[in-house]
């Protein structure tokens, strides 16, 4: 075949165009911001690119950029603490999600097919309501006079002060990300060959041994996918710690917001965002490799 259809090249270009417009360009903008200094101006940073001076303007602009803000991220304990705290929140929440999500996904995959469809629907259904409204609903449940404490009061139990604590953040994170854990696990467990379990039983495994020797190892790609799918966005999560967590809850998403809107320190906010993205590249790359492996295993 010598004559290649020319349109194919254009189609291949589309994703790159999309990436350039919606990722590369904003990313460069933020990177530029992070290298600037704060200024009492509108917008509150300098230097700014002045096209009217032509090439010299570009030179002035480039000379004005420096890594000062990044230096501050390392020396200022607050940023380091926020970073570590974000990792802790996301890590612990991922572990809890695995412990809750695996049995749910496993149970679903063992149900009769018709029930499976209904359960899958139930897992996806919350997505049909606004995320924000669902988190606000948790405020109504967790607040001092909220549904949870009313229920505890009816049972004659002392109230729990959960609102504005780390526990509330964990509840919110686990609640919001559970479908992201359950769905990849379910996808892997559901297509596992039933005859493998029969073979394991035939070769002397009790059902429990068969689970640990066959089902679980074969579900590890799903475990990895689910864990990364939750961990990556949770590290940068903003809404949940902001609405459910207290003033002491340190998470990067909140830090970025504070720098941007409260302190009006755009370069610092941008630098935090860049560092966050840079550190997330590793788990994202791992996740991508996992997905490719899963796709190849399908063929």
């Amino acid at each position: 075949m010598s004559a290649r259809p020319p349109r194919r090249g254009l189609a291949a270009l589309a994703p790159f165009l999309w990436l350039a417009v919606f990722f590369a360009f904003p990313f460069l903008l933020v990177a530029k911001l992070s290298l600037s200094d704060t200024a009492l101006a509108m917008p509150p940073y300098a230097p700014r690119l002045d096209w009217s001076k032509g090439l010299q303007g570009l030179g002035d602009f480039a000379r004005g950029l420096d890594l000062q803000t990044y230096g501050r991220l390392v020396t200022d304990r607050l940023y380091v603490a926020a970073y570590l705290s974000s990792l802790k929140f996301a890590g612990i929440a991922t572990a809890i999600l695995l412990m809750i999500g695996y049995p749910i996904a496993y149970g679903m995959s063992r149900c009769p097919p018709r029930l499976r469809q209904a359960l899958l629907m139930a897992v996806i259904l919350p997505f049909w309501t606004s995320f924000l409204i669902r988190i606000y609903a948790w405020i109504a449940i967790l607040k001092p006079g909220g549904l949870l404490n009313q229920a505890l009061g009816l049972l004659g139990l002392p109230p729990l002060a959960l609102m504005d604590t780390d526990v509330a953040v964990y509840i919110g994170l686990v609640y919001a990300y559970l479908p992201f854990m359950v769905l990849p696990l379910y996808a892997v467990l559901e297509r596992q060959d039933e005859s493998l379990l029969e073979a394991a039983a035939d070769l002397g495994c009790t059902p429990r041994q068969a689970f640990w020797r066959v089902t679980f190892p074969l579900s590890l790609p799903g475990v990895a996918a689910g864990a990364l799918l939750c961990l990556i966005p949770m590290i940068g999560e903003f809404v949940i710690p902001d609405l459910l967590g207290g003033s002491g809850t340190l998470m990067l998403g909140k830090t970025i917001w504070t720098e941007f809107f409260a302190n009006r320190d755009w370069p610092a906010a941008s630098a935090v965002a860049i560092v966050l993205l840079a550190t997330l590249i590793v788990p994202i790359a791992i996740y991508q490799r996992q997905q490719m492996k899963l796709l190849e295993a399908d063929r």
Binding site: D193, A200, D202, L203, G204
Partner: protein, 383 residues
């Protein structure tokens, strides 16, 4: 039965015949076993004995209940009625992992996350490490996969996977090996080779094999005895040569190999042979049959194509003679199957070995031919 007192039937591999010995105790015994799935009866009151060191085949079309019968023995299904015993012990209520039988699955069911040697060692858990290692080496040598011990199943060919599955099922040294369509996924050449390997292996190990297959050739080649199944019931049990040469009904005659069935009515019998009147043959049929049949009884004569002689010149008159013309023929290399349209309109299959490369008088379409068969070539069937 057809003259079995006078003549032996077909080829017999050895004098191994524990089923004929009333003192012999079977290894496995199905006692009036019934299994239903919803409204469907998969296995209907089957009783069956399988003896130690026997190579036993369950043969039948798909959906006849042969796989269900095997799964009842492995413990994957529980009978609705009846019971299964192994070495005299009732297996009821024993889960698969506590039964001393291993199964080789039709899909092979190899563990994709484990290497070849880990797959083979899977059922050896609990043995000392050194013994596991020895056993794995022994099994790898047995199936000639020594160089592939560390490969994963997806890096193997179909034939290699089949051998890993076999080694994995044999490694725990079960009392009995169950093979569910073990060769179905292999191509014809490899399948034929593997059939003989299975026989050699079974003889060497002295293990009892139960094979489930829909392929009559596979059952004939490998098994000491075959149980032919239909709709959840066993129709006939016998040595391969018995079910081929002495089928007990039209179903078995038709399922195993090719057959011509001639319908007729008993015209007379003298205790040694029976004469039939049939629209297919003006001079009537004659077949050896020591069992007396009442005159007028409806019966069928089953005659295998290779037992029908094809004549180019009219043979001397007598019973079992038919005139016709060649309607079509299929050249298979070693054999040629001729479809002969006889007087009266029906088609009869006759097979001829192509014993010489060159023939004096080639047979072509529309050539007039005559067919005949010996009285001992026909089996008289009443059902």
């Amino acid at each position: 039965m057809t003259g079995r007192a006078r003549l032996n039937v077909g080829a017999v591999r050895s004098s191994f015949a524990p089923w004929a010995d009333p003192a012999a105790r079977p290894l496995v015994r199905f006692e009036a076993v019934t299994k239903r799935f919803g409204a469907e009866t998969a296995v209907n009151g089957v009783s069956l004995d399988i003896y130690e060191r026997e190579f036993f085949a369950l043969l039948g079309p798909s959906g006849c209940g042969k796989t269900t019968l095997m799964r009842l023995l492995a413990g994957f299904e529980t009978p609705d009625a009846g019971r299964v015993t192994l070495a005299g012990e009732d297996l009821s209520g024993r889960p698969p992992h506590q039964r001393p039988v291993n199964m080789m699955f039709q899909s092979y069911a190899l563990f994709p996350h484990l290497s070849v040697e880990q797959n083979i060692a899977f059922g050896l858990k609990g043995l000392p490490k050194a013994e596991i290692a020895d056993r794995v080496v022994e099994m790898l040598a047995m199936v000639r996969l020594e160089g592939l011990a560390r490969r994963k199943p997806d890096q193997l060919s179909g034939g290699q996977r089949q051998r890993v599955a076999l080694a994995r099922a044999i490694a725990p040294r079960p009392r009995m090996l169950l093979l569910d369509e073990p060769l179905a996924a292999l191509d014809k050449k490899l399948r034929e080779e593997t059939q003989f390997e299975l026989i050699a292996l079974q003889q060497r190990l002295g293990m009892t094999f139960l094979i489930v297959t829909h392929d009559q050739e596979e059952a004939m080649v490998t098994a000491d005895r075959i149980a032919v199944m239909r709709a959840g019931e066993i129709v006939q049990i016998g040595r391969p040569a018995e079910v081929y040469e002495a089928p007990n009904c039209r179903y078995v005659a038709d399922f195993i190999g090719d057959v011509n069935l001639f319908e007729g009515q008993v015209a007379g019998s003298d205790g040694a042979s029976v004469r039939f009147a049939s629209p297919d043959c003006p001079a009537g049929f004659e077949a050896l049959q020591d069992e007396a049949l009442g005159v007028g009884t409806r019966a069928w004569l089953a005659v295998r194509p290779e037992k029908i002689v094809l004549h180019l010149d009219p043979p001397p008159p007598g019973p079992n003679r038919m005139a016709g013309k060649i309607a079509d023929f299929g050249y298979l290399g070693d054999w040629t199957t001729y479809l002969v349209e006889i007087e009266g309109g029906r088609t009869v299959r006759a097979a001829r070995a192509n014993a010489s490369r060159l023939v004096e008088r080639p047979i072509g379409a529309d050539d007039p031919v005559w067919l005949s068969f010996a009285p001992d070539a026909a089996v008289v069937l009443t059902s």
